[in-house]
């Protein structure tokens, strides 16, 4: 039986780490992963867009489109709770 061959995209991460403390990079990754993406790079590939809605005062992600077309909206301030920090994944390319 032929198995479906998935062509690797150009931007596959090489490693993944789990953060232990909160910072803005963790917050960014948390917001994308809540919506079902690894990070901003995968979001841009899947949604075929370069534009990500962000809050103007601090640059946090404001709105994302999920894979099924629904919208997720995020707060102006930190959303990632302490207990989710070590469940967030930080990818390196």
């Amino acid at each position: 039986m032929a198995t479906a061959v998935r062509m690797p995209s150009a931007n596959q991460p090489k490693s993944m780490t789990r953060p232990t403390r909160w910072n803005e990079e963790v917050e960014e990754a948390y917001r994308f992963q809540i919506a079902g993406y690894r990070d901003e790079i995968e979001y841009r590939e899947v949604q075929k867009t370069d534009h990500v809605d962000r809050w103007p005062h601090n640059g946090y992600v404001k709105k994302l489109v999920r894979r099924d077309g629904c919208f997720y909206y995020y707060n102006r301030t930190r959303e990632c709770p302490d207990k989710q920090i070590n469940k967030t994944k930080l990818y390196e390319y």
Binding site: I34, K62, Y73, Q84
Partner: protein, 218 residues
């Protein structure tokens, strides 16, 4: 010898007045939020596996008709059962966060749902509604001032519960940390009303809640 007929000893108890029930919780009956939610009229998707306590919107919030949806979501604040309570609370939060100038024209239509939610006298509903009011006054410009004419409809219940604080001596009141202490929440809400309500806010608050002291003048 005449026997005097003894009068039966009457207790002379005064009939007690019935309880007014100022603090008693009142049931609201079905809300229109519940009815519309079950009909599927809301542009929100039900999630079972989100870890972030978010609701997924099928339509962009910026394109929603706030005159129709925002009062409905506010009506759902009276609900206490899952998932109505969660969707109403989170839906109001998202709409206020991203409403901008669309919120101000809808304020008059929000007063009745806010009043109904406060009139339930239910602890959980009170806490949710007070937090929503604090968010409402900061959500857009002039909203705080637009609420001033409606203080006489929404502040009486706050006057009743303003002193509902737990006297635990030297114990720790965990409800303060979780922002579920009604007395403290009312104080925070009234201070937010005063900060964002303009010049006439304090005198109007003082008229309805005489024990409130200004946080700006002193």
């Amino acid at each position: 010898m005449m026997k005097t007929k003894q009068q039966p000893s009457c207790t002379n108890k005064k009939p007690e007045p019935p309880l007014a029930g100022a603090f008693k919780e009142r049931c609201t009956g079905g809300t229109s939020f519940k009815k519309f939610y079950e009909r599927g009229d809301f542009p929100i998707a039900l999630e079972h596996d989100t870890k972030g306590n978010k609701i997924a919107w099928k339509v962009e919030i910026e394109k929603l008709d706030y005159h129709h949806y925002l009062p409905l979501f506010f009506d759902g604040l009276c609900e206490t059962s899952h998932p109505y309570e969660f969707f109403a609370r989170q839906g109001v939060h998202d709409m206020l966060e991203h409403g901008g100038s669309k919120i101000l024209p809808v304020i008059p239509q929000l007063i009745i749902p806010i009043k109904n939610a406060l009139n339930t006298r239910c602890h959980k509903v009170l806490c949710t509604t007070l937090k929503v009011l604090q968010h409402l006054v900061v959500s857009a410009e002039m909203v705080g001032e637009a609420l001033v004419p409606y203080y006489r409809q929404i502040l009486p219940v706050m006057n009743i519960f303003k002193n509902k604080n737990l006297n635990s001596g030297d114990g720790i009141d965990y409800s303060q940390q979780k922002r579920e202490n009604v007395g403290d929440l009312i104080q925070e809400t009234l201070e937010a009303f005063e900060r964002y309500g303009g010049e006439d806010a304090f005198i109007n608050i003082k008229y309805m809640v005489p024990t409130y002291e200004s946080c700006m003048l002193n």
